[in-house]
């Protein structure tokens, strides 16, 4: 059961809307992180859910109610949402307790009275600020202010809590602590939360689901693991983690490249089912039904869809289409949760290969007289304490990056042999 669902929401006017047909399902009680670079529209998305912005078209359902649909725009005050903005936005003329109580309705006088009430005390204790009830916002630190803002948002028992880069203004250690606390708090309260951030590490670490946004579209929606391990496009891959891209040649189920022949999975990329211009949706859509064949061949929907299917265990009415030669298509589509069409392009097609740095295993080079292709030299070291990123230059000239745990640290200039662990991903060479 999803607490929030959005269908085809378009926001903005003119040729270039800010949000182009967003569809999203947020399951009840989960924490969804929306990540993307600056300007991708994630804040607009959040504000649209809140009702602070009117959508041009599309539907938003919150809980049992349709809050945005054709002809209907429910005002923000009626939506029962909690809102935590980046700058905490505490009312400077009210005390901490009054700020929290403000959400209980009735204005300032009622807030004063309610400030003493149990609910407020409970919330203050929940965020660990019981002793600061009478302070004014000016006397609080950044982290404390954010906690008060969260408590205030929770005070009225909203359907969903929306957080707009709430930890952005804090220092890293505090940020780490606070987000764990917030995660726990929301879980305790059984509260559904949507968090907007540009920090992918933050998103991956606390969210149940991650939606990756770019230019007003959701490129991928899935669990952090899915998004990280099977990013829909090379761009998503780079956004959520360090990536190594190498050119390669597809050979049914493997790629041939600078790192040798590697077992690979074909990722046709998002957008196979159409662009926003045609009003098609990007992102996850509700799943029920089964993969189906039709006379034109087999169609594969967007990887996001596949992620959805895999996660929920349900199946979707999908038309699976491949790019490229119909003769080369091999579809294995079934009504189970491992439906995975191991399609691919024709052999010898150029592809872009994604290798994660942690997939590269390095062993010290032992000169046996033969020159293995996978010999490399360490050219740079980025040390973070718990691990290090080593830049490598292969004999062939190709450069790549490997992540090694701290004990495996090698100095610049060390000679190593590179091996790839696990399966890599192959994208169309022209993919973005």
């Amino acid at each position: 059961m999803s607490r929030l669902s959005m269908r085809n929401v378009v926001v903005g006017y003119g040729v270039d809307p800010v949000l182009r047909g967003i569809s999203l399902e947020v399951p009840d009680g989960s924490l969804v992180a929306i990540v993307g670079p600056s300007g991708c529209g994630k804040t607009t998305l959040l504000r649209t859910i809140a009702g602070l912005i009117r959508a041009r078209s599309g539907e938003v359902r919150l809980g049992q109610r349709m809050v945005t649909t054709h002809g209907i725009h429910l005002a923000p005050e009626k939506r029962r949402i909690g809102w935590v903005p980046q700058d905490a936005a505490l009312f400077p003329h009210l005390s901490v307790a009054e700020n929290i109580a403000f959400g209980l309705g009735g204005g300032r006088r009622a807030a004063r009275r309610a400030a003493r009430e149990d609910r407020v005390k409970h919330l203050l204790a929940l965020v660990g600020l019981a002793s600061l009830a009478d302070r004014t916002p000016a006397q609080l630190s950044g982290g404390q202010a954010q906690r008060v803002a969260l408590a205030r948002a929770l005070a009225s028992g909203p359907e969903v809590v929306l957080m707009d880069e709430p930890f952005g203004a804090l220092d890293p250690i505090l940020r780490g602590e606070l987000r764990t606390e917030v995660r726990a708090l929301l879980a305790t309260e059984g509260m559904t939360g949507i968090l907007v951030t540009h920090d992918q590490a933050e998103a991956l670490s606390i969210a149940d689901y991650v939606a990756v946004m770019r230019d007003g579209e959701i490129l991928q929606f899935g669990t952090p693991a899915e998004v990280y391990e099977r990013p829909a496009t090379p761009w998503v891959a780079t956004f959520v983690g360090d990536s190594v891209f190498l050119p390669g040649i597809w050979r049914s189920g493997s790629v041939l490249g600078a790192l040798g022949s590697l077992e690979a999975e074909w990722m046709p990329g998002a957008g196979a089912s159409g662009s926003s211009a045609s009003g098609g949706s990007s992102g996850a859509v509700p799943a029920d039904g089964a993969l189906s064949n039709d006379d034109n061949g087999v169609r594969l929907g967007s990887p996001a869809l596949r992620s959805e299917i895999r996660r929920s265990g349900e199946t979707a009415p999908v038309t699976v289409v491949h790019r490229g030669d119909p003769d080369g298509a091999q579809a294995q589509a079934g009504a189970d949760d491992t439906a995975r069409a191991s399609l691919g392009p024709k052999d010898d097609t150029a592809v872009t290969v994604l290798v994660r740095p942690e997939q590269l295993e390095l062993t010290s080079f032992i000169d046996t007289g033969l020159a293995p292709r996978l010999r490399a030299t360490v050219t740079a070291v980025s040390y973070t304490g718990h691990d290090a990123l080593l830049e490598l230059a292969l004999l062939s000239g190709t450069r790549c990056t490997a992540r090694v745990p701290a004990p495996g640290l090698l100095p610049v200039g060390a000679e190593v042999t590179v091996a790839v662990r696990g399966r890599v991903l192959a994208y169309p060479a022209s993919a973005d």
Partner: protein, 536 residues
Amino acid sequence: MSQRVDERGADLAVEPITVEPVPAPAGKRPPRILLILALLACAIASIPLVYLIVRVGSSGLDDAVTVLGRPRVPQLLLNTVSLAAAVTVTSVLVGVPTAFVLARTRIRFRAAWTVLAALPLAVPSYLAAYGWLAAVPGMQGFWASWFVLTLVSTPYVTLPVMAALRAGTTGLDDVARTLGRGAWQAFWLGTWPQIRPATLAGALLVCLYVLSEFGAVALFRFPVLTTAIQQAYGSSFNRNYAAILATVLVLIAMIIVIAEQTARGRARRRFGAVTGIARHRIVDLGPWTVPAFALVAVVPALAVGLPVAVLFARLFEAETLRALDPVELGQAILNTLVLSIGGAVIAVILALPIGALAARYRGRLVRLIESLGYLALGLPGIVVGLSLVFFSLSVLPSLYQTGFVLAFAYGVLFMPKAIGAIRSATAQVPTSLEDVSRTLGYSALQTWWLVTARLARPGIFAGALLVAVTAMKELPATLLLRPTGTDTLAIELWSRTDVSAYGAAAPYAAALILVAAVPAFLLSGAGRGRTDGTSA
């Protein structure tokens, strides 16, 4: 985080520290009720304009050609525009450095200097002119008018710029310095954009004030449109002539208002509002101490000190010192207070929707509403007065010649002064606070009352004070609209200087300055320090 990349000035290679994101155009339409209220306020403010149109309309093209074809008209136009421009420029040139010294330096007796800086607001222009004429009998024409009008209108620039400086940050200056720019350039790049809107707003007020001013230019015998209008009403029994000239004045005012809006709009697009607690460096004066004292002392001394001294000198020199009637004086004081406070209340009520609208929303309609609101400020008081005679007799005759209509006239006349203060105070309330309030269950109207208005209260109050202090000095509309038998301090003063009863005028002049000094003092905000960055 912003949806659109902000325009960067070509010059500026510096990233602003925090910029309030420009609200996304999608869905940012002003709520209907606000628009309706603002339009209503606008309509009321346009009563004088409607009156002018009716009069001009009834006169026909021949009259217009006759009046505008008179040989004197080009001269009048030139005089009017050049005087307005000159006074505006000097007010800015004096006002901004004065504001800087008062807000950003470690000057001794800062609070006292600040009060003094605001004090010229309490002096009517005709009083200052009279004082100077008595001291320097040969004073006349353009230079005299320019000089005295600059003295009395500089506070309109000094006060808002001071407020902006207090709320601003020197962070941008510092960054510019690290990039190799000198101190002046750093100021230009960093601080100037922050105070530019306030400077423009103040300059607009000064410009419109000079356009509509009558007392000083009459005393200095400098022929401008207002003197011609006054003459036309007085000697030409065809009131349409005067209306035609007044329309020319309105057109000039309109051009200026639109120019200021355009300039302000551009500034806003470039820089948005700087949020967060403002920290700025306070500068030590060192060798600049004496010049700084001189700078902050010169305007109050010349605008207030000299006229007061002269009047009191005359007081003791006049042969017949007519007996002062304390009852009359007391009654005049009371009338002045009540009427100006009433006017301030009405002005604020009218200005609130317009200021709230202009603070948050953009668009052509918003700009139009704001412009219309400001136009009345460019009109001579006699026009506004007559328009309200016309209006109240047509609409509500039983209220005619009651104090209410006069207070209403003040409200209409001076509402624009409140608009600026309300607009900037509202704009400084972060929109995120309003968003939060909405999501917490409060409707737009409730949010406005509980959050925005509450936090903008000091600015709203400042707007009211500005209206009150101006209303206290008002003359021509008061002459026309006051209830028979009711006199304000300004009226009493004027009637005495009019017949050269200078000795008898002195107590009234003193009373007027003292009474008006109170709001002027409050406006200066002396001793107020703001750390929450939420008020004007």
